[in-house]
Symmetry: C2
Subunit: 156 residues, 2 copies
């Protein structure tokens, strides 16, 4: 996305955006895209998407977590979770072991290499979040989170 942002100038005058501008869904997606791109930039050296990073942090905080639980927390179905876990395993960032308590499940662990980076990942994730919310007060941030959770609940 190297192209310049024209939004400031000729566009808004001549284009009719009334419907889109009114839709929360539109602004939700625009904010998400902006957040995603900023995340990619901040994690350039780690080459991680928000999804991939969330999976690693989840495993770091919950060693032995199963794929199904990761999918549930991050809103992915089993096949999608598989592809993300496969990708991170291929990059030697996580390990699969058979669960000892339920042999249907895989217990997931970070590799030493990744575990050593965990704190750095967390710090960058927080940094990213502070950046995207830099225009909001603490109070607004709390309200925003509650509203986003309500949207998720209304829709599931």
């Amino acid at each position: 996305m190297k192209q310049k942002n024209h939004l400031a100038e000729p566009l808004s005058d001549s284009l009719n955006l009334w419907l889109l501008q009114d839709l929360v869904g539109y602004h939700l997606q625009q904010a998400e895209i902006a957040s995603y791109r900023k995340f990619i930039k901040i994690f350039t050296e780690h080459k991680l998407t928000p999804r991939q990073c969330a999976v690693l942090i989840l495993i770091g905080e919950n060693p032995g977590i199963s794929q199904i639980d990761i999918g549930t927390v991050l809103g992915m179905d089993r096949a999608t979770t598989m592809s993300v876990v496969d990708l991170l395993q291929d990059r030697h960032l996580l390990l699969r072991r058979r669960s000892t308590t339920d042999r249907r499940k895989h217990a997931l662990y970070l590799t030493k290499k990744c575990a050593a980076q965990l704190e750095s990942l967390k710090k960058k994730a927080v940094k990213h979040d502070k950046h995207i919310t830099s225009g909001l007060t603490e109070k607004e941030i709390e309200q925003l989170k509650k509203m986003l959770i309500k949207i998720q609940q209304a829709t599931s």
Copy 2:
């Protein structure tokens, strides 16, 4: 995504989500995913994603709009815009014509078939938006939109 949502039960107790729960970015993505899936459901018979629908509505409200302007409004680069426009053209929902004023540009128009559906698309888009915001008051919705715009601005 036919699997059941386990979030209510065993998970939350045992899993440590403190970092993710604190991140606006996490809730933003979760809300966006939920909104996306609901949209796909509502538009099952039209087989349209939010993106594709937004492009059609934009063209419907701004006949002759160029690809570059669509990309700017919807946060897509030229290549991504191309792929969406190609797809909608292949489905006979829009037409490309050379712009008369600037022959580098293509002027985009809805086909008759699609123009006839435009009002229905708009109604469904509004219906979708009412659904995802059903847990919020009018005042909250306005606040939410402003905050989402601020996130987008902070990040661009």
